[in-house]
């Protein structure tokens, strides 16, 4: 019997150990209108520089961004708040008092800002970063001057701030770059499929299904460009035991994404409202981003209502420049943040 108990003890000790840097940092849960949303705060909290990361999707999670080389550079200098939005990632909850809408999500972010300032001090330097869908979310948030006043700056990376325009621009890219690749004889069958699809889309009347297909072909087209840089061997990976639950996270993420689509996010078009953003803004884009084409970045650079704005175009990247050109990407973010401290 003694041996049995000893064996069990050893087994339990073994499964309880082995966590790497995951244990550093803070985990704060925000409870708001029926949801408990975790914010994982990693990095240099003593710096007083915090960047809230709005993840992509909808349906992604904050910590999926904490897996590249660029994060090491960022976290040495600033604290990054990897937040799981309502109904996505490790967020949980029920009995939402109202439908899942953009307004509800904006309220969530208001609450997160209040919580961070309560926990780390009202004088913290706070930046908002949004990638892809996070760019939609963040741009929508920045439509209010009161909300802008909470932040030192806004960083939009490959942000989908105008989804109808995004679809039209993606079709143009499929046609122009796709045809050029066909002429060069690169990946002929794949490009032919994409170009044929693009030629068959009526850009004045793009359906929801076609929008989904454009997104899928956008991902595929990025993979077909041979000159893109990909994540190197020095990329650090999350340890096997990490907070992300891919099974339930991806399932609930899909459900939430469908709910948001039903609530009309596909119709969000903020190009004409970009002048409302008066906050210092950094725009980061991959030249070969077929998912959210660079034209949206050029639009934003032109139309955002401040002179303190900058667009950085990464020549060898697609939708995720943080993967292929991570060191430059992190350096650009840090430069912007350090130039805009209180």
């Amino acid at each position: 019997m003694r041996n049995y108990i000893l064996s069990i003890t050893v087994l339990l000790m073994a499964v309880g150990c082995g966590d790497v840097d995951i244990k550093q940092g803070d985990v704060l849960y925000l409870r708001h209108k029926g949801a408990d949303m975790p914010a994982y705060v990693y990095g240099n909290m003593a710096s007083n520089k915090f960047m809230i990361l709005l993840h992509g999707g909808p349906g992604g999670n904050g910590l999926e961004y904490r897996g590249g080389r660029y994060v090491e550079d960022l976290e040495k200098d600033i604290a990054v708040v990897y937040w799981d939005q309502r109904g996505q990632g490790n967020s949980r909850g029920n009995n939402y008092p109202e439908d899942l809408t953009m307004d509800l999500l904006l309220d969530d972010l208001d609450q997160l800002v209040t919580l961070l300032k309560n926990q780390y001090g009202k004088d913290i330097n706070l930046f908002l970063y949004g990638h892809s869908w996070g760019g939609t979310y963040g741009t929508k948030y920045m439509m209010s001057e009161k909300r802008q006043a909470q932040f030192n700056g806004w960083i939009e990376s490959n942000g989908a701030h105008d989804i109808p325009r995004l679809n039209i621009e993606a079709i143009k890219m499929f046609q122009t770059i796709g045809q050029a690749e066909l002429d060069k004889g690169n990946n002929v069958s794949d490009w032919k499929e994409i170009v044929d699809f693009a030629n068959g889309v009526d850009t004045l009347n793009i359906s929801e299904d076609e929008g989904g297909q454009i997104n899928q072909y956008g991902q595929k087209a990025g993979e077909l460009i041979g000159e893109l840089k990909t994540a190197g061997d020095d990329e650090f990976r999350m340890p096997f035991r990490n907070p992300v639950d891919m099974v339930s996270g991806s399932l609930t993420g899909s459900i939430t994404a469908n709910g948001l689509v039903e609530s009309g996010i596909e119709d969000i078009a903020l190009t004409d409202s970009l002048y409302k953003i008066k906050l210092p803004t950094l725009l980061l884009w991959g030249k070969y981003d077929f998912v959210v084409p660079p034209q949206l970045g050029y639009d934003a650079e032109k139309l955002i209502g401040t002179t303190d704005k900058e667009l950085v175009m990464y020549e060898f990247s697609d939708h995720s420049p943080m993967n292929g050109e991570g060191m430059a990407y992190a350096a650009d973010i840090l430069r912007f943040i350090n130039d805009h401290l209180k």
């Binding site: 995951i22 849960y29 925000l30 409870r31 490790n90 029920n94 035991r241 990490n242 099974v247």
Partner: protein, 195 residues
């Protein structure tokens, strides 16, 4: 680790008073570790003996009520406790082999606790919420394969592998399947039992 230690103590105390227990290492959704403890109650039992060309074949069939307690930890996110009960149909190839096959149908209550401080904000005031987490009901389906070892000893020991599918509800206003893989031992502590 403190949760494991606490639970380990509880398990050891329980074991010392029990006759038969099942203790297993649990892996939830392929990444989150935990433990499970169950106390089988035999409802019906019968033995069938068949004479085959290769020799005598003895098969035991049991219906078992299997109350169980499970804990698993999603690191830096949640601590989950579940209390439930399964109805298990066991087929035991007693002779010549010692294999046990079980199919189970169960219902569980799952309580998760956020592994981090939870705050809510009312009228601009930030308040700490104690013991914050979620409640779920979870029907389950399971299949288990086990084998007896050291059967000639007065206190035999068996091992088993048990995949178990849960359907957590309500989870983000929906039903979400999840998966536990249990690798455990059956301990027959005070008298022989085949449960």
């Amino acid at each position: 680790m403190k949760y494991f230690t606490t639970l380990l103590c509880c398990c050891l105390v329980s074991i010392s008073w029990a006759q038969t227990y099942r203790i297993s290492y649990v892996n939830h959704n392929f990444s989150h570790p935990g433990i499970s403890i169950a106390k089988p109650q035999v409802l019906t039992y019968k033995t069938i003996t068949k004479n085959k060309k290769k020799g005598e074949k003895v098969i035991g069939k049991q219906n078992i009520l299997l109350p169980q307690f499970t804990y698993y930890n999603q690191i830096r996110t949640q601590n989950n406790f579940s209390l439930g009960c399964e109805i298990v149909r066991q087929r035991h190839r007693m002779k010549p082999a010692n294999w046990q096959f079980e199919t189970g149908l169960g219902i569980h209550y799952v309580r998760s606790f956020n592994a981090g401080k939870t705050f809510k904000i009312e009228d601009g005031e930030v308040m700490h919420v104690r013991f914050a987490g979620q409640n779920y009901f979870a029907p389950s389906l399971s299949y288990s394969v086990g084998r007896d070892f050291l059967k000639k000893r007065p206190n035999p020991i068996s091992v088993y592998l048990k995949p178990q599918a849960f359907f957590l509800m309500p989870y983000n206003q929906s039903v979400v399947p999840s998966f536990n893989l249990q690798f455990g031992i059956r301990l027959h502590l005070k008298q022989q039992s085949n449960a």
